[in-house]
């Protein structure tokens, strides 16, 4: 399982952080921390299957629907 986050869509609402804190985090300015790693699209490596429920909930909870769960 992998995720991609469309950082152009993302508006840093942070709802994903509460659904899947092991995957998503905000920096101290309230910006999604993946912004330090990518400009337009963040693509994760392979995530452990045990995170699936949390990650799917995060994708649902995103107001901008910017998170895609694949695999």
């Amino acid at each position: 399982m992998r995720i991609t986050v469309d950082l152009k869509k993302c508006n840093d609402h942070g709802q994903c952080v509460f659904s899947a804190p092991a995957v998503f985090s905000l920096d101290e300015d309230g910006k999604l921390s993946f912004r330090r790693e990518a400009a337009d699209t963040y693509a994760s490596g392979d995530l452990d299957e045990s995170l699936r429920d949390d990650v799917e909930e995060a994708a649902d909870a995103c107001p901008l629907q910017a998170i895609l769960v694949e695999g």
Partner: protein, 406 residues
């Protein structure tokens, strides 16, 4: 075995997914009034007046969890017989079910006033937006009726688009009930600084114009010129299809704390759950009567919770053993480039500034019985996690012992 989900909005979609994820392998049929697959509504009020609006971005992805779900769109449920376990659709079809989800949402309340109808709009559905965007090209002066969050978002968006905007609101301040007087007054100042005009303490009584709205006359006798009127004056839960079954449908579908619908006599029915804007439920943060909470996040959260509760019943589990719904209610609003984030139950009781100042970035807390029950942040997204944890603590402290682990 079939589950019928009445309502094809986000709550209906999330409940269907949750039922499937819980292992239910029978038929799931979602019926909806609108002809569209489930779509995301917040951009309608936040972006649709702006040039950046992209309708193609609105539909939700239909993932594996909703594979094999049947969609009957444009044919809403119009009646239900809960004793016989049937739902009747607008096209006359009668569907039998073993489990039912009531997720029919709300519709916009409209003003019943003399005058032309053309040029008056509500903002809730894609079809509303299509109608609005056709009229927008001609509009220079917009009158927004109602200064709740939707009205204020639309006003800000229209102002950003260069239109003259006047907001009419009977209350003395915009967004007063959800935010409290002091923060509402501060946001009023910000709107006015961006050129939005307000007529507070006033209400419309007549729409003027010959075939199309040209002006609005108010209770104070003054008249506002208007090329376009947007009515954002509240919502009405779509519960008429459940009439005649002895349910408590006053201001929404009454549920127990697990989102099972209360049958006559007041006990939850295992085979019927409710979710989304139409559901009225108790919550640890809400004293007294169950209430509807019409936030985007709550529609998703109740959808998932209700779907899991129904699946538990259908697989032979004891509905009364399921967890209570205790998710943190949360919403956000974007106005004039400001990010407003609220969570918990805001506006009630004592409000105080937790940090910052009201005319800049600020955190406002709302207390009841000396407990922090809600927080609103303006421009302080970096403090969201800090304050949200405090609301989670309050929920844990107030939740009935039997559901404290939910």
């Amino acid at each position: 075995m079939r589950v019928v989900v009445a309502g094809a909005g986000m709550a209906g979609l999330r409940s269907a997914e949750a039922i499937r994820k819980a292992g239910f392998d029978g038929e799931i049929t979602v019926v909806g009034a609108e002809p569209h697959m489930p779509y995301n509504r917040p951009p309608l009020s936040k972006d649709a007046i702006g040039a950046s609006f992209d309708q193609a971005q609105l539909p939700f992805r239909i993932g594996k969890a909703a594979a094999g779900v049947s969609w009957r769109l444009g044919t809403p449920a119009v009646a239900a017989d809960l004793a016989a376990r049937t739902v009747t659709l607008a096209d006359g079809a009668v569907l039998e079910w073993a489990g039912l989800v009531a997720a029919t949402g709300t519709r916009s309340r409209r003003l019943s006033l003399p005058g032309p109808l053309a040029g008056r709009h509500a903002i809730r559905t894609l079809d509303d937006m299509d109608a609005l965007r056709k009229d927008l090209n001609l509009a220079r002066r917009i009158v927004v009726i109602g200064a709740g969050f939707i009205g204020c978002e639309v006003a800000a968006a229209a102002r950003a688009g260069g239109m003259e905007v006047t907001v009419v609101e009977p209350e003395p301040l915009p967004m007063r009930r959800p935010l409290g007087d002091e923060l509402a007054a501060a946001l009023l100042r910000r709107h006015e600084a961006h050129g939005v005009r307000f007529r507070l303490g006033a209400a419309p009584i007549v729409f003027e114009g010959d075939g199309r709205v040209r002006a609005v006359t108010l209770t104070d006798g003054t008249t506002l010129d208007a090329d376009l009127v947007i009515e954002s004056v509240g919502s009405i839960p779509n519960t008429e299809w459940l009439d005649g079954n002895g349910l408590d449908l006053a201001a929404g579908v009454a549920c127990d704390e697990r989102l099972h619908v209360l049958a006559a006599g007041g006990t939850g029915r295992g085979d019927i759950v409710a979710a989304g804007d139409a559901a009225r439920f108790p919550h640890p943060l809400l004293p007294g009567e169950p209430r509807r909470i019409e936030h985007w996040a709550v529609a998703a959260d109740t959808g998932r919770h209700a779907g899991a509760a129904l699946a538990r019943h259908l697989s032979g589990g004891d509905p009364a053993a399921g967890p209570a719904f205790t998710a943190v209610p949360a919403f956000w609003s974007d106005q004039h480039g400001l990010r407003i984030q609220s969570f918990g139950v805001t506006g009630s009781g004592g409000a105080s500034v937790l940090e910052g100042d009201l005319d800049g970035d600020v955190a406002v807390g709302y207390e009841r019985d000396s407990r922090l029950v809600g927080v609103t942040l303006v421009g302080l997204g970096g403090r969201y996690a800090h304050y949200r944890a405090q609301i989670t603590d309050t929920i844990s402290a107030l939740a009935p012992a039997s559901s404290a682990c939910a």
